[in-house]
Amino acid sequence: MLKVEKLHVSVDGAEILKGVSLEVPAGEVHALMGPNGSGKSTLSYALAGRDAYEVTQGAATLNGENILALSPDERAAKGLFLSFQHPTEIPGVATMNFIRTALNAQRKARGEDEISAADFLKVARAKAKIVGLSDEKLKRPFNVGFSGGEKKRMEMLQMALFEPRFAIMDETDSGLDIDALKMVGDVVNALRSPDRGFLVITHYQRLLDYIKPDRVHVLAGGRIVKSGGPELARELEQSGYDQFIEAA
């Protein structure tokens, strides 16, 4: 599914990722943990294709296809979804119109039929209920005036609607209360399937109580310094990241 090999990424000339290798097979959920500044968000931006994140060495493939040569929208059409750590507000852009336009752009790129406004609205309303966003919120310009938690719910609504092949969730749990964490778990668990994969970036064990990861990786100093089973997350909760910071 997602395969990252010896990836080096620089931002403004500073090397942040120094050879990250990671493989998430189809059907699995992997957690990526690590201290602040270790390069977790850099990895998610680089994989999604953000301009300033320059890949200087290495490779990344999704289902065997080199994604590094694709534009961000082409990667999205291939089924790569990024749940943003800090979702953007887009004043003046109507939420439902934006999401439907984006969904149809992806469908068109894949040679699928576009979804009608009426059909979309029906599905979107049903899924908005699941993630806990009111109709009133859906009528606002995109994310404008939303709290941090509401923005994360909007990310989950889009993930539920786009049904991506592979989702990178960048600290979706930050700023969420327990009920919202459970909602995130529900959305991920409903989407889990043999042909879908997830990379869940988090600082804390608690999200992993709701989303059981198959593997846990620790990113420190721009490299994966340790990988293990779900027990590794619990271990980190006890011992912290100090050992890795020193090692890196």
């Binding site: 953000r50 929208d73 943003f84 953007t88």
Partner: protein, 408 residues
């Protein structure tokens, strides 16, 4: 003789002088021409014309336009079923008039004090054979929009209109400015609003790449009257749309919204002067521009608050979106305040599209052009969000969408 005041006239100015001489101007017309001849075509060394050099844009002579009887395509505003007055190369045509509206022509050339020293107003008054006069009777509420459809063909055109609203009258006036080929189209529209009258004015300016469009609008507002204006400028070789308002009665309400959507080498200049001369006026002005390629968007807005105009509440903002390294936005917001109990503010920004929003939208599947278009539409579209007339609002949104499609 006033005409000798112009030293070293350009070919265009010499042509205008010759045309004026041939007409043997007298009285008010001669006085109006003097207002023009004192400066000639406004140029960059003149106050208020630094960024719009009309003399340079009109160096070569453009002969007077011929009357044109071509069949013209229906107006984009056809869907709102307006009462249409077609002003083709300066000649007005209409038939009948809605109830409560009187339409006539006059040869009276006197200028309203608001623009009596304005060179372009003077030129229009001197050169237009007659002015069309639209009078809305006291208390009349005219639901059907009145469309002043100005179409310029090749040549030089001078047109003049007067609009008066009696006490308590209400009307909607749409002015469209279209042009084909190489022209200089200069128009003057003077308006007066009686006590508690209400005028909604809409402007759609869509000139040609070789055309020069100048339009001066000057209105006086009586007590408790209200004037709102929403405009979309698509530019021309040079387009300069001026709005002069004098709030002479207390508690006047003024609301001005404009958007410039410019590409290629187009130029549009929004210049306005709001004179607050009585107490308690409320003014809101917002201008937005999206500038591509080598386009040039100019905003000059001035609020003048006279000594006696206490409790004036006036706010102005201008925001430009620069979509190319070669596009240029020139903003000059000004406040000139002589009263001590007022609330006045102005703001001006220029910037590029939000990179975070662009990346976000592309991550969701929109390609770069789609994402940019959606953001530009969101930025400019706000200008039309409060138009009360849904048909008119549709025309503005669809004209903007059309512009977005045609540009990268």
């Amino acid at each position: 003789m006033s005409r000798t005041l112009l030293i070293n006239p350009t070919a265009m100015e010499a042509g205008l002088l010759a045309a004026a001489k041939a007409r043997a101007l007298e009285g008010a017309r001669e006085a109006a021409f003097e207002a023009f001849a004192r400066t000639g075509l406004p140029h960059k060394r003149m106050e208020g014309w630094k960024w719009t050099d009309l003399r340079a844009a009109l160096r070569d002579d453009i002969a007077a336009a011929e009357p044109d009887n071509d069949v013209i395509a229906p107006s984009v505003f056809g869907g709102v079923k307006p009462f249409e007055i077609t002003i083709m190369n300066g000649a007005a045509e209409w038939s009948g008039a809605p109830q409560g509206v009187r339409i006539a022509t006059t040869r009276d050339a006197a200028l309203s004090p608001l623009v009596e020293h304005h060179p372009l107003a003077g030129l229009a008054a001197a050169m237009a054979d007659e002015a069309i006069e639209i009078s809305i009777a006291e208390g009349a509420k005219i639901d059907r929009p009145i469309l002043l459809r100005r179409i310029a063909g090749p040549g030089a055109i001078h047109a003049r209109a007067r609009l008066s609203l009696g006490a308590g009258a209400a009307a909607t006036v749409i002015e469209s400015f279209d042009g084909v080929g190489r022209y200089f189209s200069n128009s003057l529209t003077e308006a007066s609003l009686g006590p508690s009258a209400s005028l909604a004015r809409f402007i759609l300016q869509d000139g040609s790449e070789e055309g020069v469009e100048t339009a001066v609008f000057a209105a006086t507002l009586d007590a408790a009257s209200s004037f709102s204006q929403v405009a979309l400028f698509l530019g021309a070789k040079v387009a300069r749309i001026e709005t002069h308002i004098a709030a002479k009665g207390e508690r006047a309400k003024i609301d001005l919204k404009s958007a410039s959507a410019l590409s290629g080498a187009r130029h549009a200049d929004q210049t306005s002067l709001i004179l607050h001369e009585a107490e308690g006026a409320t003014t809101r002005q917002a201008h937005k521009s999206a500038l591509k390629d080598r386009a040039n968007g100019v905003f000059q807005g001035k609020f003048h608050v006279a000594r006696g105009a206490q409790r004036t509440d006036a706010r102005m903002r201008a925001n430009a979106l620069l979509l190319s390294d070669f596009a240029e936005a020139d903003h000059k917001p000004e406040l000139e305040i002589y009263a001590d109990n007022v609330e006045c503010a102005h703001g001006s920004t220029a910037g590029a599209l939000d990179e975070d929003a662009l990346f976000y939208m592309r991550q969701r599947g929109l390609d770069e052009d789609q994402a940019r278009a959606l953001l530009i539409e969101a930025f400019l579209g706000e200008t039309f969000s409060e138009i009360a007339h849904p048909g008119v609002q549709n025309v503005f949104h669809s004209r903007l969408a059309h512009w977005l499609k045609g540009t990268k």
